[in-house]
Symmetry: C2
Subunit: 599 residues, 2 copies
């Protein structure tokens, strides 16, 4: 269950805040994202990705799929977002997926009680306090409503379930919920998915899709929304046998912020490698370490600023009781650390819970190298004795005898055997129980797999990538804003312009745009407004290169165009012949723009 806020979140301030403000304004103006249903005043926590944002988000998802599904050989599924109640009874979400709600009786606004406490007292992890204590703290500190300033002492704090509820079919006989994480769509289907994996561990299943949390106070643009996209991998392992290939990631450098450092008064982040961190026990689980290593490289590849990125270990209060080790990926946004992914060893919690609640089998049959012979105690009760003796309870007696044989075979050493049935003690002669110890040959055993879960918040990654790419500089005395996006995720790789409105220039530019597209580059043709305005537009959406067709292009013997690099604003004349190859080389990083020959 990732995507939650951390106690590290602090209020924004000063200059840092400005970047987010500017970014949100640019995002709206240029089609990255904006609050939905603005014509109706908007609704907190719902955002629409415009053309640029939808493309960036889709590129981030594709990059994630390439790395975490295809390259790792995991399978991807696509499950519904509405799931029936029994799923969430089993997963624990129905009972425990709550936030603390306090409603101001003065202005009617709802707030998170734990946030009010954390923002105004020394408590750092108010979420872990019991509700009565939170009410006491509010009263003692005379805390007030952040909206209207009225005192909140005496207001009831309630547990508010964050799942969106609905009804499936007519009436209310079948409650359903919008999934609060994509993971459950994988866990519940384990009995079938294991077949696709040919009943062999380890295997991984990914899903990229919507998840929903009815946040009490959604905030910070697309960082904390009520509807968001997750990319999750559930990796199923045999806890006794499977080991990750740590050699693939041992040299990856990471910045870690382990519990020990968080608890130390002068604690600091540690710069280390995955290999060292495992060797020194900083990361206790090798599977978690493996995925941290892969994630580090992946975030780097899509343009997260590695100077504003770290992995933070969960404090014991934050960690789910079943999770043996848990780390968050965090990015720095306006001097605050924001959780953008969670990496947890979930043990066998999820599969065991679904097995228990559904009665279905959530195990893998593991064949022994050689069949094993084991002793097993069995009973074969004499029903002609039990029937008359116990009447309607005879079947219950049989079941109790079977259970006793499995539990404590020494009980059959006594004569008579004593059993308990609904609190009452009964005696049965040993000979009537048919007790025996038999040798059985077993080909294997049913193993409940453990789960390692890397869980990514896609919207938060998108926000981080945009925020870390946001730049302001001055070009020829004019202020300029641009996004230094990585070519892999930028919505457009090249803008192609005719210098002026002229049929010949336009036709040539159109041809070039088509050629670039055929070479697999996303290219946009634009002939609207003066050339400076078109450059500024592409700078603001983060297009790495612009190609301009001018009169020199069509008049000279060798057809050439002007290519402009976004970050340096340098321009070079390059031949049209081979242009696509040159741009592909720039995209792949095989050549730098400054190294290109050209005027």
């Amino acid at each position: 269950m990732s995507n939650e806020s951390t106690t590290q979140e602090q209020e924004q301030n000063g200059d840092a805040e400005r970047t987010s403000e500017q970014l949100v304004e640019l995002a709206k103006r240029r089609g990255y994202f904006f609050q939905s249903s603005g014509a109706y005043g908007g609704v907190g926590g719902f955002y629409t990705f415009g053309p640029q944002g939808a493309s960036l988000k889709s590129n981030v998802e594709d990059a994630w799929r390439d790395r975490f599904a295809l390259e790792e050989g995991n399978m991807e599924i696509d499950a519904p977002t509405i799931m029936p109640e029994p799923v969430f009874e089993a997963s624990g979400h129905l009972e425990g997926f709550d936030d603390m709600l306090v409603e101001c009786s003065e202005c009617g606004e709802s707030h998170r009680a734990d946030h009010i406490v954390e923002d105004n007292t020394d408590f750092e992890d108010a979420e872990s306090l019991p509700i009565p204590e939170v009410e006491e703290v509010i009263a003692e500190h005379e805390l007030v409503c952040p909206s209207c300033g009225a005192g909140l002492a005496g207001e009831a704090v309630e547990a508010f379930n964050l799942m969106f509820a609905t009804n499936i079919g007519p009436g209310d006989s079948q409650p359903g919920y919008l999934r609060p994480e994509t993971a459950q769509g994988i866990f519940v289907e384990f009995p079938r998915l294991k077949e696709y994996a040919r009943n062999t561990l380890p295997f991984g299943v990914t899903q990229i899709g919507r998840a929903y949390r009815n946040e009490i106070s959604p905030r910070r643009s697309i960082i904390r929304t009520r509807e968001f996209t997750q990319a999750e991998l559930e990796y199923f392992i045999d806890p006794e046998e499977d080991e990750p290939d740590l050699s693939a990631v041992e040299d990856v450098g990471v910045r870690l912020y382990p519990v020990t450092e968080q608890n130390a008064e002068d604690g600091n982040e540690i710069e280390t490698t995955i290999g060292d961190a495992v060797a020194k026990g900083v990361i206790t689980d090798p599977w978690v370490a493996y995925f941290l290593g892969i994630a580090q490289e992946w975030y780097d590849s899509i343009g997260v600023d590695m100077d504003r990125f770290r992995f933070r270990q969960h404090l014991s209060g934050e960690r789910a009781h079943y999770a043996s080790d848990c780390w968050d990926a965090e990015s720095e946004i306006d001097r605050n650390w924001i959780e953008i992914a969670g990496f947890a060893h979930r043990g066998d919690y999820d599969l065991s819970k679904h097995a228990e609640h559904s009665g279905d089998r959530f195990t893998i049959f593991k064949q022994y190298d050689e069949p094993k012979t084991v002793e097993r105690a069995t009973v074969d009760p004499d029903m002609s004795y039990l029937g008359p003796e116990f009447g309607g309870d005879a079947q219950a007696v049989v079941e109790e005898l079977e259970a006793l044989a499995g539990r404590d075979r020494s009980a059959f050493d006594d004569e008579p055997v004593e059993i308990e049935l609904e609190g009452e003690s009964h005696e049965i002669p040993v000979e009537k129980t048919g007790f025996a110890v038999e040798e059985q040959t077993e080909a294997g055993e049913h193993v409940v797999p453990n789960v390692i879960e890397p869980s990514f918040g896609v919207d938060r990654v998108v926000y981080t990538v945009l925020h870390h790419a946001y730049r302001e500089d001055e070009v020829a005395g004019e202020e300029r804003t641009y996004l230094e996006l990585e070519p892999e995720v930028a919505p457009t790789f090249a803008g192609v312009f005719p210098l002026q409105n002229d049929d010949e220039l336009e036709a040539q530019a159109d041809d070039i745009a088509s050629e670039l597209r055929e070479a697999g580059l996303s290219a946009t043709y634009d002939d609207s407004g003066n050339i400076g305005r078109r450059y500024r537009r592409q700078d603001e959406v983060g297009t790495p290169f612009c190609v301009t067709v001018d009169y020199e292009t069509i008049e000279n013997e060798e057809t050439t165009v002007t290519v402009r690099e976004r970050d340096s604003t340098d321009q070079k004349r390059l031949p049209v012949d081979g242009l696509a190859e040159t741009l592909v080389a720039l995209r792949e990083g095989n050549v730098a723009f400054s190294e290109l020959e050209g005027e």
Copy 2:
């Protein structure tokens, strides 16, 4: 509002039914799709796409995006699936998006009353009957519950709203609904989207995403589900100026089933071309014709059997009142025609409704070629007269005078001017109204765009593609099942196998799989089970080619492999050198397998 059932749907029967049964079984076994939450008994109308299905679905979506967004130059957005109530008040879904529900008081099952009527009487379009009439028909015909056989006469038929309802935030003060179509996420954002289109018509906006309908009786696997994926294009045009480029589609052959033929006793489908159909007025709207032409070619390209495909015009009773022309794409599944897309000219209905309900501007400002001078009647009432005379009603009088000047300037020819206010007549001296007729220069006008909507049901396309690809034949005396999927949408293009478990064979096969992937082909490595079983597995998931590495591969001077074609099961030995290029050529259709040189 597409994806509805048609009156053409009939019960399945005989042989035809068998294909669907076999397909659904194969889909479950091979990871295409299966009912969700099976461990908890499943819930009607919710399906999970397994690894193969998720891949096929994603390939279909990509193919749609290529054709309807990228190639057409339309922009794609990504909006939330939960939307607030005012959106659906405006769209009409809150009031009118109902099905007729009848509940059996004997067994408690809910049914669609109109389906019961259609299935058991001569009524063909019971959905268009008023509810009391449906109740009468049920009583008169003594119709019974399809589940338990109890009589339904006397049971109340109710209008059941198909939207899934939920609450946004704590309490129930802000109702929200899961969108019943992706379209509303585009319409409500028109005021912003038009900015991204630089306020110029025509432009199109696409969205691929989840939509939800709380069907009373979901049925037929992924054909009628409660949660599904739509791919919709909303194309905004200036109704007075914009014309489609029909030359691009005029020669496209189509099979049409127009209203006239549906109503004629011996009516038939017509084989024609888009150009002819427009010329003869069979398709009345040229924009609808344009998109039918594109859709025809697109369906063909992804593997829909064109002998089992047609466009059917909506009968007047089916058509929404605002839609001037509406056609469905239909595919034949088990001898039934299933709607898989809808193409509607929606006029200005959607934008006008949202303008009216939100008070926001859903128009495009259209500049005139030259500014126009128009006469406009204005008033400038004398408040020093109106104030004392009308007191608190003075402002209302001003507004009524303004309205009157716009409506009927001749009213100001009389002395005094008569106005009506809340049913009462009042007289005002003309001189006190400040009436004047002025010449004004206008640069342009605010136009409400019309909308053409091609709306595709992705799940139904996936089902059709699978159903039309399903084949059974006999190979070497053994029955074989395979899917003749188009390479563009097949989850895997090539299976790569080592003939036996042997390190050298395995390494070579692994290398070849990597090479194919680098060439942009999706390749699967498989070394489990005997080679015949691996072929059958790939046949059943529809993999067009299999590559087998054997001892000849590694022993001979020229490295060669066996390549097997799925449909013919023919095999050829081909050199590894150039294999990727050969397979790419096969994929693109530049060469046929039978033409390849090889042993």
